[in-house]
């Protein structure tokens, strides 16, 4: 455990400094701070996706659905009078369990069929969000979600951003610990060759199931924080496009590298906001970017650069990282 931290210590330290600096640097402008906060929230999600996709070789397109279940559960519990901090663990655990339950049949599928199946599951979840009006308010969504209480006052502004930074750092530490543990190595073995892994005595389905549960927890925790941070949830907040985007951030940054997910998130998460003024070409730019990466850098940005050194230091400010990518 300490080995893992030592190995990635510098990276984690740099990331932590950057994550905490971000809200403080942007504190003067609540709009940019909000984009920063959303990016930090996405780091939690991409860390989970990185575990699932980068290490366990699963591509769960129902990821957003699980985040959504957690968000709705948290909002529901808060409406029933529970504090956010009580609702959070309950909602997250509940959503992760539901995720595993829904994923169970799909997890028996190998490789890409799992992905296709998870896509359909995501569709069912979205339909359910619309259909169970009494629980979710349907496609109208739930607005004016109150911020969590924090030492007697509401948690908002820079305070909330710093909590999200803590969450993002925690997610990365957890990712490092899991990946460097024997469990993580078993996952990589399963990803590389599940038949061989089976022969070596690894229970493939059980490993996948465990990974899926842990990955779903990341999704669920992110979802529970999303609700009060944005202040609004609706089925469209957690549709398949979010799953795809989170997955894309991992693939874009570099699959199977610790920091690839972070690089991908920092580059892609703010993009839709920064391109708001270029709405006519936004989707086309985004699509070309995706195609460009898959054609020119099939392993993602960090994977494409290849060197461990790049993977270890790709954690400074967004500006620096953009230079590295170039």
């Amino acid at each position: 455990m300490t080995d893992a931290l030592r190995k990635h210590g510098r990276g984690l330290l740099v990331f932590a400094v950057a994550a905490y600096a971000l809200p403080l640097l942007l504190a003067g402008n609540r709009y940019f701070a909000f984009i920063g906060g959303i990016a930090l929230l996405h780091v939690v999600w991409t860390a989970g996706m990185s575990l699932l996709y980068g290490y366990a070789g699963l591509m769960p397109l129902m990821f957003a659905g699980i985040a959504g279940i957690s968000a709705y559960a948290a909002v529901g519990l808060m409406a029933a009078g529970f504090a956010f901090w009580t609702a959070l663990p309950v909602a997250a655990l509940f959503a992760a369990l539901v995720g595993v339950g829904l994923g169970l049949p799909a997890l028996r599928l190998k490789g890409f069929y799992f992905t296709l199946c998870s896509l359909v599951i995501q569709t069912v979840i979205t339909l359910a969000f619309v259909y169970f009006v009494n629980l979710t308010n349907g496609d109208t969504g739930i607005s004016q979600i109150a911020p969590p209480a924090w030492f007697g006052g509401p948690l908002q502004g820079v305070g909330f951003d710093l909590v999200l930074a803590t969450l993002a750092v925690g997610a990365m530490v957890a990712l490092v610990l899991i990946v460097e543990a024997p469990f993580g190595r078993r996952l990589v073995a399963v990803r590389e060759d599940d038949e061989l892994a089976e022969m070596l005595g690894i229970d493939v389905v059980r490993q996948k199931l465990a990974a899926f549960f842990v990955g779903s927890l990341f999704a669920a925790v992110g979802g529970a924080f999303y609700a009060p941070y944005v202040g609004f949830v609706s089925p469209r907040s957690f549709d398949v496009l979010l799953s795809l985007n989170i997955w894309l951030m991992v693939a874009f940054g570099g699959r199977g590298t610790i920091w690839g997910a972070v690089v991908g998130t920092v580059l892609l998460a703010p993009l839709p906001f920064l391109l708001q003024d270029y709405y006519k070409v936004k989707d086309v730019i985004y699509g070309l970017l995706i195609i460009g990466v898959i054609v020119l850098l099939p392993g993602g940005i960090l994977g494409g650069l290849g060197s461990r050194a790049a993977a270890g230091t790709g954690t400074q400010s967004p500006g620096l990282r953009r230079k590295e990518a170039a």
């Binding site: 709009y31 959303i38 259909y131 609004f232 907040s237 708001q276």
Partner: protein
């Protein structure tokens, strides 16, 4: 970042000298967050088209300049909240407006109420946008549960004790309409049977059309989403339901065109229509200009966005401080008593920001390439809380 400034201020380019006071003042900025991409892009774009026509006369010389800053929300609530925040903080707008979709409007509603930014919703019919306790949000369009109420009133007048078949897509808007309809139908002794709900993404209604035919109702209230609306209508007509029995809760120009000639005789609800003789001279000019440019008639969506610009002008003119102080803007808007320049219909908001509501039911007479003919057969207006809208639809 180069922002699209909708109010290009063309009026100001004229060399008319302005009064010193007005020239000194900074222009008033209004944020317009709407759906320019994503599933709802048609409505957002139509809305902006309507707004653009109003801008020709928005900034007469001598008055304080108003500019609309337009941002696309991608029909995505997170983007809508971010855009609202962007306009609030970066551009320091005095008020927000623009959304035409359910969830984006509600997402901004939450932001506006929490951050005390006046929010004037042009086209979104969810009752909850003006639920009790709302202070900063105001809505121009009647709420959807009210439309359902009005349909029940209309049918009860046409045929007391009538049986209504109800077919609708599972969208919040349509659920609200059906909630209002069912509530008032029960009070008026109308029967709703069968009620058929289609999940989002449905594409066929043949079987349901046959079921409706078999049930032999007096009226069929139909509302589908997008292309599906047309499909249901066609399939009802295919199985032999008479157009005179079909009521669409709302009809925009593109929809009427889509229903086509075979729908002549069928009915639709609207809040502004080129075929109404209550349209004012300015409204007539708007219709003609819009038609020349877009090869179709404007409907209530375009009209409400046109009227949005008028309302903001009147608020700024009514109190010079309204352009600089959101609380003053809010209070002035709340106290505003005016009329839609295009139709003469009164504009007045209740304590929750809802308007005195109204609807016209039109019967289609003829459908052409660009224009269509229809005649009003029933009109009514009502107090937003005549039925318990805020309890009927959560």
């Amino acid at each position: 970042m180069n922002r699209t400034i909708v109010a290009a201020g063309l009026g100001l380019a004229l060399v008319t000298p302005q009064t010193a006071a007005a020239a000194d003042q900074e222009s008033v900025k209004v944020g317009f967050v709407t759906e320019l991409t994503g599933p709802w892009s048609f409505f957002g774009t139509a809305c902006v088209a309507g707004l653009k026509f109003a801008e020709a006369t928005l900034n007469p010389p001598g008055k304080r300049k108003i500019e609309f800053i337009q941002i696309d929300n991608q029909t995505q609530p997170t983007q809508a909240v971010a855009a609202a925040r962007n306009l609030d903080i970066q551009s320091k707008v005095i008020a927000l407006s623009g959304p035409t979709s359910s969830d984006t409007a509600l997402a901004i509603y939450g932001y506006a109420e929490q951050n005390k930014v006046p929010f004037l919703v042009p086209v979104a019919a969810f009752p909850q946008l003006t639920k009790p306790g709302t202070r900063y949000s105001f809505r121009i369009e009647p709420n959807a549960a009210g439309w359902g109420y009005a349909i029940a009133e209309f049918v009860a007048k046409q045929k007391p004790g009538a049986k209504i078949a109800l077919m609708h897509s599972d969208f919040a808007l349509m659920r609200a309409i059906s909630a209002g309809l069912k509530y008032q139908a029960a009070k008026k002794g109308l029967k709703i049977e069968p009620e058929i709900v289609f999940p989002q993404g449905s594409n066929d209604a043949t079987v349901q059309a046959a079921q409706v035919l078999a049930a032999n109702p007096d009226y069929v209230v139909v509302v589908g989403a997008g292309g599906f609306d047309n499909t249901i209508t066609n399939q009802l007509l295919d199985v032999g339901i008479k157009p005179e029995k079909i009521i669409h809760p709302y009809g925009m120009a593109t929809q009427v065109k889509g229903w086509g000639k075979r729908s002549v005789g069928s009915l639709y609800g609207t809040f502004f229509d080129a075929n109404l003789d209550t349209v004012t001279a300015e409204g007539r000019k708007f219709i003609d200009d819009f038609k020349a440019q877009n090869k179709r008639l404007p409907s209530y969506v375009e009209n409400y966005c046109y009227v949005t610009s008028q309302i903001i002008r009147e608020v700024i003119d009514a109190d010079p401080k309204a352009g600089d102080d959101r609380e003053v803007f809010r209070n002035t808007l709340s106290a505003l008593k005016s009329k839609e320049v295009t139709s003469g219909i009164p504009i007045e908001f209740d304590k929750n920001g809802a308007r005195k509501e109204y609807i016209y039911f039109m019967q289609i007479q003829d459908v052409g390439e660009v224009e269509y003919k229809s005649k009003p057969v029933f009109t009514t207006n009502w107090d937003p809380e005549i039925i318990p809208v805020y309890d009927l639809v959560k």
